[in-house]
């Protein structure tokens, strides 16, 4: 277990996720915050980015004249195409996801349970418009499901929980959780803390209702 003195800021969190992606991986970065990981990937990692709307070899965000309304990421933001890119239709794209061909996906989360259940599509509030997109397909499909989130909600309650109270996205699917104060490996045996950032293991253990071990 690595111990660091400072909490991770947004950039630091994205960089930490990026650093741990194995060389040569095919990776999906979902929508929203995880898409920031792309900027911290080292070209030497030779990561190929997949976007659910039908592309492998997605490049950085498009700007100015490079913006093409026919070329977007899953968040509908304009992106670019790298040499070696390939386009395919939606059934083929999700066959790739569901079939277990992506090495890593990075997702945001409302909650993750101690056994790796993921809740990230619906708060369950009566007035909320539910929307799931490709989250359930990524959760069950990628070889490694990485969650990137703040460890505590605004009210201070932990988001790594014994059982999710929000509606589930997938069962026992999360492998790694990256937060601003600690990173976790979720295994069948235990939730292992792999690194801490500005918070001692003892304090973590006290604030979480989930039993943790130092990894």
């Amino acid at each position: 277990m690595e111990q660091h003195a400072e909490r991770l800021d947004t950039a630091g969190l994205a960089a930490a996720v990026a650093r741990d992606i194995p060389t040569g991986s095919y990776v999906n970065l979902g929508i929203g915050r995880p898409t920031a990981v792309a900027a911290y990937l080292d070209p030497a990692q030779r990561v190929t980015l997949h976007t659910e709307n039908g592309m492998l070899g997605m490049g950085p965000p498009a700007e100015g004249d490079a913006i093409d309304p026919d070329l977007t990421n899953a968040g509908k933001q304009p992106v670019t195409e790298l040499p070696g890119a390939a386009y395919f239709h939606h059934a083929d794209s999700f066959a790739m996801m569901r079939g277990g061909h992506l090495d890593v996906c990075v997702l945001g989360a409302f909650q993750v349970s101690a056994r790796g259940d993921l809740a990230n599509w619906h708060t369950g509030e009566p007035d909320a418009i539910p929307a799931v997109g490709g989250a359930m397909d990524l959760a069950i499909g990628a070889k490694r499901v990485v969650v990137m989130m703040s460890l505590f909600a605004k009210d201070g309650s932990p988001k790594l929980v014994p059982e999710c109270s929000y509606p589930l996205t997938g069962l026992a699917c999360v492998d790694r959780v990256y937060t601003e104060v600690a990173t976790f490996a979720v295994t069948p045996e235990a939730v292992m803390v792999t690194a801490t950032y500005g918070m001692a293991f003892a304090e973590l253990a006290e604030r979480l209702q989930v039993p943790i071990v130092a990894g």
Partner: protein, 232 residues
């Protein structure tokens, strides 16, 4: 180009949408605005069919296209994966007011149900959504070591899609991520209508690169480059 009587090329979007009946299930391509058949959706509003079930990844953006169709009260039910967007206020309001029904389907299951409808697959088991509220009540089975859910085909009466180019016999090619749902929706509907930027002679498209073979295309409307690229 010449358009003989048997040609699939229609003179207008209105002509291409003739005959769509009230109560139809309409598959509408696009992922956000990429691949959205804007001209055809506008023509559907003009055409007047109502009590529609709309199958599309999203539930309308801003005040045009699908959002305008919803605002006009023509839609009974939306089947989609991601209705909630920063500019989906029309759907949001109708949904909260109980004026439109929503069937929320995980995106990959949506694509695969459309494929199944086109491919003659009666039903399939998928691990997506197993154990979640979106598959409550569905038949489940443990297969390949994990819980899977039985899902059924999602056929359409009509598909409205956008492609880049068509040839005279209806073969289609797309542009970049605007391809998305077009090819599966074309296979899943009894009648498929496509808007394209241009129609080229048979033999002009590389036979190795055709994404939607003409067998799946019934009517073609040429809307020009800008409209075909999802711009207004």
């Amino acid at each position: 180009m010449t358009a003989p009587a048997y040609s699939r090329v229609c003179a207008s979007a209105a002509e291409a949408l003739a005959g769509i009946e009230d109560g139809s299930t309409v598959l509408v391509g696009g992922f956000g605005m990429a691949g959205m058949p804007v001209a055809l959706v506008d023509a559907l509003i003009e055409q007047g069919a109502t009590d529609l079930t709309i199958v599309s990844n999203n539930a309308g953006n801003g005040d045009t296209g699908l959002a305008a169709l919803l605002a006009a009260g023509r839609v009974r039910k939306v089947v989609c994966s991601y209705p909630r967007q920063h500019d989906s206020w029309v759907f949001d309001g109708l949904y909260r007011a109980g004026k439109v029904e929503l069937e929320l389907v995980p995106q990959g299951t949506l694509a695969e149900r459309l494929r199944a409808a086109g491919a003659g697959i009666g039903a399939f088991f998928t691990p997506t959504g197993a154990g979640t509220p979106l598959t409550e009540g569905a038949e489940t089975r443990e297969l390949d070591g994990r819980l899977q859910v039985l899902q059924y085909p999602l056929p359409g009466d009509v598909a409205l899609i956008a492609a880049h180019r068509a040839d005279e016999v209806g073969n289609l090619v797309y542009r970049k991520t605007a391809r998305n749902f077009g090819p599966v929706m074309a296979t899943a509907a009894r009648t498929t209508v496509v808007q394209v930027s241009e129609v080229v002679p048979a033999g002009s498209l590389d036979p190795e690169a055709i994404v939607t073979p003409g067998i799946y295309v019934d009517r073609i409307v040429v809307t020009g480059e800008r409209a075909a690229r999802g711009e207004q």
